[in-house]
Amino acid sequence: MSRRNPSTGAEAAAVPRARPLTGRMRGLAARLPLHLTLIGLMVLWSIPTIALLVSSFREPTAIAASGWWNAITEPFDFTIDNYEKVLTQRGMARSFWNSVIITVPSTILVILVAAFAAYAFAWMRFPGRNVLFLVVVALLVVPLQMTLIPVLRLYGNVTIDQELPLLGGNVFGVNSFPGLWAAHVAYGLPFAVFLLRNFFGALPRDLFESAYLDGASDLGVFFRIVLPLSGPAIAALAIFQFLWVWQDLLVALVLLGDPDLAPMMLTINSLVSSFGSQYQLLTAAAFISMIVPLLIFFALQRYFVQGILAGAVKG
């Protein structure tokens, strides 16, 4: 689209090394707009994150006085004070731990619960199977807002007002980790069942038939054949469930009132409302919350992409 002469471009792409030097230069010139546009877009998409990272290491006075881009040219004057402050004085250390407590069990539980259901949907025959599965898929699009008022009222009635050992908070209901786990598992289920059922259903039938003929039970087949073969699907699901719960603000905002139990998203939200222009605190806090998701992204990019292609989207 940016090439003046399409045939030149096509050849350049197909056999670049076979061409004489002048031809390659001409091809490059023709493709220059393409490269400029693409690199421009890459820069545009990277700058905000870089601005955040650079600013989080600058002195508060410097952030308030000059743009982050000055930090690259001035004599290097970076500090980790901002991180120390948000972690110790603004509760981000505690919140990081809370995010882990909330996210890890929610992720493991949703995989387990959904895998059982997906196995039944994929390999068992029972009346209403297809209709029921469609209902589960349909629940994918129900806005969480539709459920929050009744869930909060319900939790008000079932709250067990005793301290949960080790982790803190109530045993169940509002202001409790188990209450939040249950909600996050339930909200993650429609996608999880959908993804796993499609994956399980695509496993070869022979595998199951020979196992059943050998007298294997459902549980045996499930744990020894289905789960080990489903590594990629489970990995994609785990990544997305982890990210959704890690990044959730809405559910925590409704079900957790106690700042001691707040995950990072909730803490950053309160930091924004009380210190809206103190960007040394906000940028450091935001970056702390991004470390784990970014690590997951770079380490497991392949599964991340597979999950997106399988229909995973932020809830």
Binding site: S46, F116, M146, I149, L250
Partner: protein, 309 residues
Amino acid sequence: MIGRRWWIPWLWLAPTLALLGVFLVYPSVDTIRRSLLDERSKSFVGLDNYRFIIENPQPLVSDTHSALLNNVLWMTWFTVATVGLGLIIAVLASRVRYEAPAKAAIFIPMAISFVALSVIWRFMYVFDADIGTVNAVTTGVGLEPTAWLQDTGSPQTVVTEVGPDKLPKPFQINNFALIMVGVWNWTGFTMIVLSAGLKGISTEVLEAARVDGASEWKIFRRIIIPILSPTIMVVATTLVIQTLKTFDLVWVMTGGRFKTDVVATLFFKEAFVFRDFGVGAALAVVLMLFVVPIMLITIRRFQFQEEIR
């Protein structure tokens, strides 16, 4: 497999069905019921809560018209911009050797939470041109700095100044500033999906068209777009559903002030700040009503896929 007792499948399904029942099915029905009751869910008020949304009697406290309009704005501009940019980047990236890093750069924001994104972009949008990156650029090219998140101005200011002051302004600057953040975040998603679709187009078809002398633009319009159009539809549907749920971004960046509320943020205020469960529930039902047609389309497509499976 054949001698399985009838209740065995239900045992495997039980945890899922119980959780979905308690957290999704029952609450959805209950929310519909509460939308017909007063703010404490005590007495029946008929359609009063829906009348509140339609008549917008308290535009200063909870501007329902502006929220609905903003959701429509999000639905259209966000979806069009995200799909367009994603498609362009996918096509451009497929023609260079640094495709992987190019795609990674666009995709990284997908890994960042809306809350962190909001912090990033509040910082980018700072009014002071010495600090705020966006205003540094606009003043650099000779324009005035803009209060991107507060400015409710628009090309239509003239019209609304003549008319009643409380009319929502459809093209507020701050709404577009918010939508741009969403676009920045989600373009990676459309790019990844469309790029996978592009890989599925056989290179022979494209080469044949080039040999026949078709221009790159013609190839894009006559071959790439038609082949990708089912994928584009799927992506657009997903995005529309996402925009209906937009909450975190608006909540953290503006808190819905300066007429940036969307239905989801207004719902949160009504239900959990003002504690009016009636109007809150009605707003949730309105969101659901937007989603239903999309849900039906998705199910039909799914059934179709099952039939050809």
